[in-house]
Subunit: 216 residues, 4 copies
């Protein structure tokens, strides 16, 4: 809270607030799964098995939000200053993240019904695509001309990050488009993307560390 | 947690608690949007489009709470001490913020029905007006006679802040009054206010920075 | 995170976790107020007015949780170490705090029905009484023989705190007993207690500060 | 936020995010207890008593999540670095923790019905068993070959921790198996496990402290 560190502490507050929204959105997912009401003569076990789309939706969305949180968190380690545009883009980005429990519940409700499956998956993947668009805009704004990132960062690192996010954004848009052809392929791509984004970042800290050690 | 820094750490805890309430209130907004139940012969897409007031309410309230959070956060960077009155005013202020999901759901439910539209918009804008009143009271109490703000702050900065909040408060009260004449104009003013308050503060850090550099 | 500060950081984590539970419990209160469904010919305004017990319950519980948070937070500024018993008592205490949305909704639902009013108010005030019991036990355990509080604290300060909490506890138990005689008096006492506990603590930092300045 | 402390700050962020999920999951438990609707001629008190499985489920789950939080928190005090596998295992672990409100509500709904009791208790204890499996995996990954823990830690401390978690995991799996024989015994074991895990850790900080004092 010193005057010199005021800027950093500002991104710190944005991160804390964002972390809160992530943690709540991810935990609210469970609320959408209602306890089934069965008669004595029915099998509770079968009814619970029948709820599989709810568990699937819960697992995918939990994974996606968890990975998006990790990426958001990693990005803000590079962003050292904040301004009103960043704040605004971050609010729009969080608006998408906090919206996710709704398409998740929609997916769980309608994935079994052929008549509504495409709509449900399209809304779900479309929400993720818009989330990716805002995330990419936020990064492009912060990293462009070193606007809000640390000036000592390697330009090739910033370019690698930008490539990663722009590519990810287009793949999420592809998942949205796929929903109209094959809902299963669309969901499959979303799961693959989550698992790929959990991998270490391609040109990140390792390369920087190597450079630093080469200089010594 | 040193004795000298005890006061600052006290406002730190108020901020953390407030941030938590903001983050939860903003994320709870989605709970109010229920998944629609459609028959196989109906179009899920049309039903989802029909829910537009829910999305509109979600977007406006998310934006408003996000902006109020940013303003609350900026104010507490100037407030360096805390006392029981500030604590109490802050609890009343948070009581209004955490109440917002209710008028938001009311707005989404009744904005389409002409018989109830005025009531719904009036409750919504009225809640925002009361929130603005408590925010302004909190600031007037903290800044009056430098009661709880840093004594080294420029008096013109404090006056500019006070003007900003008192004006904002009257504009929210105007939005409330407008609800009885034109609900659409009332909501329009609320969106404009949110977008205006996201702009850099008029007499804030920039001017202070200029002064500081002039002294050098 | 140094070894010497490990203990303090431990109470820090208990505080952060408790703050989270407080912030969520206080914000969840609004979920219990459902949007009323009215016909075109009915008055939405009248139906909203009819919901006054929900607003009253929301306001009282918000105030009570806010004040309990402030007291909990003030107490942990004196508690410098933590152990497993404190952790366990704190979990039991939080279990009561997080339970509050349920009796609040009960109160809102049944305060207007004479046949059920006493039960609803008794459950509400009883929950607060049990919360006060655990808060007092937590303090007695931490402060007894300076078990977990800073050894440099004035013994008269600790005694004043103990008196304050034991008295508060008995007044909450009185509010519970009053529910069976006069539900209104019980709720009145609860509101008065919240307003009294928001006042500066009688023998707190001021006296300590005076002592410290006398020594100089 | 210095470069050297970057790794520690990274586990700090994982902890903060996890704490958020814990705090929300524990507080959301109350949402599953709905206010009962009684007629004027019925007794509200009796209906509230009839809800005892909901209170029992709330208390057990609150206790379990509280204890799991304390253990998670204690473990991350030993884990000083983080990597993508740890992040991923932690997300899977949190996915189980955040899932708990669902089996808790299931338990409350069906524990009284003999036809469904075994299923409800098996799902509940099974969820806890899977949670314990991920917690143990997370620890084994972090502690194996000192991968992510402080290299100065006593190897016997790490082994004692590992024994503790592997044993705990098998006891939770036993509780799951017991559900099919005696649901009451299964729940009893779960409560006992929570109370045992609240006890001080067997070979923990005390031993390390003794060693340190021996060296002096």
């Amino acid at each position: 809270m010193t005057t010199s560190g005021g800027q950093d502490s500002d991104t710190g507050r944005i991160e804390t607030f964002s972390d809160g929204v992530f943690a709540i959105a991810i935990t609210l997912l469970i609320i959408e799964i209602g306890v089934p009401h069965v008669e004595v003569t029915e099998s509770l076990f079968e009814r619970l098995i029948h709820l599989w789309p709810s568990y699937l939706g819960y697992a995918i969305s939990f994974l996606v939000i968890g990975i998006v949180w990790a990426n958001h968190h990693n990005r803000f380690r590079l962003i050292s200053r904040s301004d009103h545009v960043l704040l605004f883009l971050n609010v729009l980005f969080l608006m998408c993240v906090a919206f996710l429990p709704f398409p998740t519940a929609l997916l769980a409700e309608y994935i079994r019904e052929e008549a509504h499956r495409i709509t449900a998956v399209a809304v779900y993947s479309g929400t993720l695509a818009i989330t990716a668009v805002f995330f990419t805009l936020l990064w492009l704004y912060a990293a462009g001309n070193y606007r809000l990132v640390d000036r000592s960062l390697d330009p090739s690192l910033l370019r690698a990050m930008t490539r990663r996010y722009v590519l990810g954004m287009f793949l999420y848009i592809l998942a949205f488009a796929l929903a109209f052809v094959s809902p299963a392929a669309s969901l499959g791509l979303i799961v693959i993307l989550a698992l790929v984004f959990v991998l270490p970042e391609p040109d990140g800290s390792r390369r920087g560390a190597r450079r630093r050690s080469l200089r010594r």
